[in-house]
């Protein structure tokens, strides 16, 4: 027996037409299986209607607050490990560079010193070239001496360290609640 349209109608929440209703009643009078589905669904529908929402045990909000504090602590720990990791990585890279340089110096001090002297002269030449170029563009540009530039770089480095320290201080764990 084909139950298809009748089961759709039985379980549908839309109103049936008079024809559909009559056809359904005729089918139900001869189909025990569909009658059983109809009865079961009716009982379940009543059960759903009378079953209320369940709530959590007392203190859910308090537990949520503790959960949130734990989450913030975990976040803070993660940030700290990231900072430590990044610092360690930079330190290792710098140490590697330093060791390689020192190794070269130990192996052949003369040529090494000459290379560095050559580099220093190059840097000074570049500085004077840049100064000439800037000077030719405008005479009103403030003149920066080599010593002034040295102090400027020093101040910028100091400010960077200060900024990093301040950032670290303000990003420390704050009380959430």
């Amino acid at each position: 027996m084909n139950h298809q349209p009748f089961r759709d109608w039985l379980l549908s929440e839309e109103d049936l037409s008079a024809e559909q209703n009559q056809s359904l009643q005729e089918h139900l009078s001869g189909c025990e299986s569909c009658c059983q589905i109809k009865l079961s669904w009716k009982e379940l529908d009543v059960l759903f209607q009378k079953t209320t929402q369940v709530g959590p045990t007392q203190g859910f909000t308090h537990r949520w607050q503790s959960h949130l504090v734990e989450y913030h602590s975990a976040q803070q720990r993660r940030r700290s490990w990231l900072t430590i990791g990044a610092t360690a990585l930079i330190t290792i890279v710098l140490l590697t560079v330093l060791i390689s340089q020192v190794w070269e110096l130990i192996q052949a001090p003369g040529p090494y010193m000459l290379v560095w002297l050559d580099r220093l002269i190059s840097v000074i030449s570049v500085y004077f070239i840049v100064q000439d170029v800037i000077g030719s563009i405008s005479w009103s540009t403030p003149f920066i001496t080599f010593v002034g530039l040295f102090f400027l770089v020093g101040i910028v480095s100091f400010m960077s360290v200060l900024w990093l320290t301040a950032y670290k201080k303000f990003s420390l764990a704050r009380r959430v609640i």
Binding site: D8, S40, L44, T52, Q53, V54, G55, T57, Q58
Partner: protein
């Protein structure tokens, strides 16, 4: 369904902790109920509810106020539970433990409380037979009065898919109910419980 004042919602989006606590107080019951109906275990429902609020906390800035908040919130809870059910598909769930039931106004006696608990057990036993998406659709439809469109948005489905899923779920639940009522409806029995009762 509980609602939240737009002003409170604005405060929550601006990161106000007190406003968020108010939000948790307001929605703890509907969220927990959804998780409990989905997972069938009070402890897992508690964990899932807490995780839902944590996800809301992390993503509250992305919430679009044109959308009803309850739909957005329950959508997060439903997806979380669906993922959880997929993870433990092969693990059997006990429904012997029953969550805290708030007493009704008429203060039911032990007998009424027993029947209330039995109803909850029967409902859970029937819901347990559905697949996660069908279960979520049924729960949203019958306990939250969500429309097909709201369910569709919450579960990332089309309204026609929701309609057909609900139809399939009703038929499946009716057949389960019919079979189980035929055998006196014994969804799960304690191992130490005598078969005489």
């Amino acid at each position: 369904m509980n609602t939240l004042e737009p002003a409170v919602l604005n405060q929550v989006q601006q990161g106000n902790q007190e406003a968020f606590t108010h939000l948790v107080e307001t929605f703890q019951r509907p969220v927990y109920n959804l998780c409990y109906r989905m997972l069938g275990d009070p402890d897992e429902a508690e964990d899932a509810s807490q995780e839902t609020f944590l996800r809301v906390y992390k993503n509250i800035r992305h919430y679009d106020q044109d959308r009803p908040f309850s739909t957005w919130l329950l959508s997060i809870a439903a997806h979380l539970c669906i993922d959880q059910l997929r993870k433990r598909r092969m693990v059997a769930v006990s429904i012997d433990t029953t969550p805290y039931l708030e007493p009704a106004d008429s203060s039911p006696g032990p007998e009424a409380a027993f029947y209330l608990m039995e109803d909850q057990r029967h409902v859970q036993a029937v819901l347990k037979t559905l697949n996660p998406h069908d279960r979520a659709a049924v729960i949203m439809y019958y306990w939250y009065d969500f429309s097909y469109e709201e369910i569709a948005k919450s579960l990332s489905l089309t309204p026609s898919a929701v309609k057909s899923r609900l139809h399939r779920a009703r038929l499946s639940m009716a057949q389960t109910w019919s079979n189980q009522v035929g055998s006196n409806f014994m969804p799960e029995r304690n191992p130490h419980e005598s078969s005489a009762f």
